[in-house]
Symmetry: C2
Subunit: 189 residues, 2 copies
């Protein structure tokens, strides 16, 4: 067996999520995950630092892709369009794997410590987007508000997406709908 077993990362992720849902996150041991995936615990640690990392290892990639999309937005784009571009990049990353995203979300919602970590992740992402807007020359107050508002829109869209009964619902579409709804909300007097 080579250092990287083909497909072991994906199998470990699926096994971990299934076990977290069946037994609870706290009660699941790395050895259980490895056994379910048919690999050794040693192999687990080649892919993930610990069992929490299975749930959060994509945060860096999400941050990177969304910042790249933000920076690639045309200079003429309105601030909220720039934020939307960053969030569409996140949607494109996690959108294709709705079932994994649903399972991950259910695991996180069932555990206070994980919920907190997820909230902090959103905070960091919103702060990073705001900083990137400021580097584009967006005013301080506008940048903070646009990033926080974008994060709010994303959370609502994500929740609708994971809750949707229809498997064909696209995260990009729910995100687009939420941005449209925000425009309606703020236009109403």
């Amino acid at each position: 067996m080579g250092r990287w077993e083909p497909g072991a990362g994906g199998r470990l992720r699926e096994a971990a999520l299934a076990l977290y849902l069946e037994r609870g996150f706290e009660e699941t041991m790395v050895a259980d995950i490895a056994e379910r995936a048919g690999v050794t615990a040693r192999t687990f640690f080649r892919y993930f630092a610990d069992k929490r990392e299975v749930l959060f290892d994509r945060a860096a990639e999400m941050a990177e892709k969304s910042l790249a999309a933000l920076e690639a937005a045309p200079a003429s784009a309105a601030t909220l369009e720039v934020v939307a571009a960053a969030l569409y990049a996140v949607a494109d990353l996690i959108g294709p794997e709705r079932e994994l995203a649903r399972q991950r979300h259910a695991v996180i919602m069932a555990n206070a410590e994980l919920r907190e970590r997820e909230l902090i992740k959103f905070e960091h992402m919103s702060a990073a987007l705001a900083d990137a807007l400021r580097r584009r020359g967006v005013g301080d107050a506008e940048a903070g508000l646009a990033a926080e508002t974008g994060a709010a829109v994303y959370r609502v869209a994500f929740q609708r997406w994971v809750d949707a009964a229809d498997d064909d619902v696209d995260l990009r579409d729910t995100l687009r709908e939420s941005f449209a709804r925000l425009r309606t909300l703020t236009a109403a007097r």
Copy 2:
């Protein structure tokens, strides 16, 4: 000395915040707070369940006042106006004590566990506002988005208020400005 010593609650709060800032939250003991306030530890526990409670004991009152304001908003009011009414009620509660709010905020930002608790508090408040909007007949998706957006606007306004160099800045005004900025943001294409 009576069971409730006049002014002891306020003195304990001020002493606690000062010590949390000087020594750190973790390093401060209830006995230190009581000593600084010139009361016994027993008196401390008549006002606060523990040293964390000094920072979070107003959450219930904030939730209550904001929900009452939301429910009192006219049926004809636009959804975001209803959310704004709820948030102005929060601003009226904490606005008069900017120095305490600043200190509290600094203490919370310096401690990961407290930051997490503060984030969770915002989550709960946003969920409660969304539920209250639904009870007013606002659609599910619109209610969630309006509450999350309101929470985002509030956080940005609060941050600007605590960061303001000018002591005369009013939280209600920064909140009103943030709502106006949101309208500008979402109107731009």
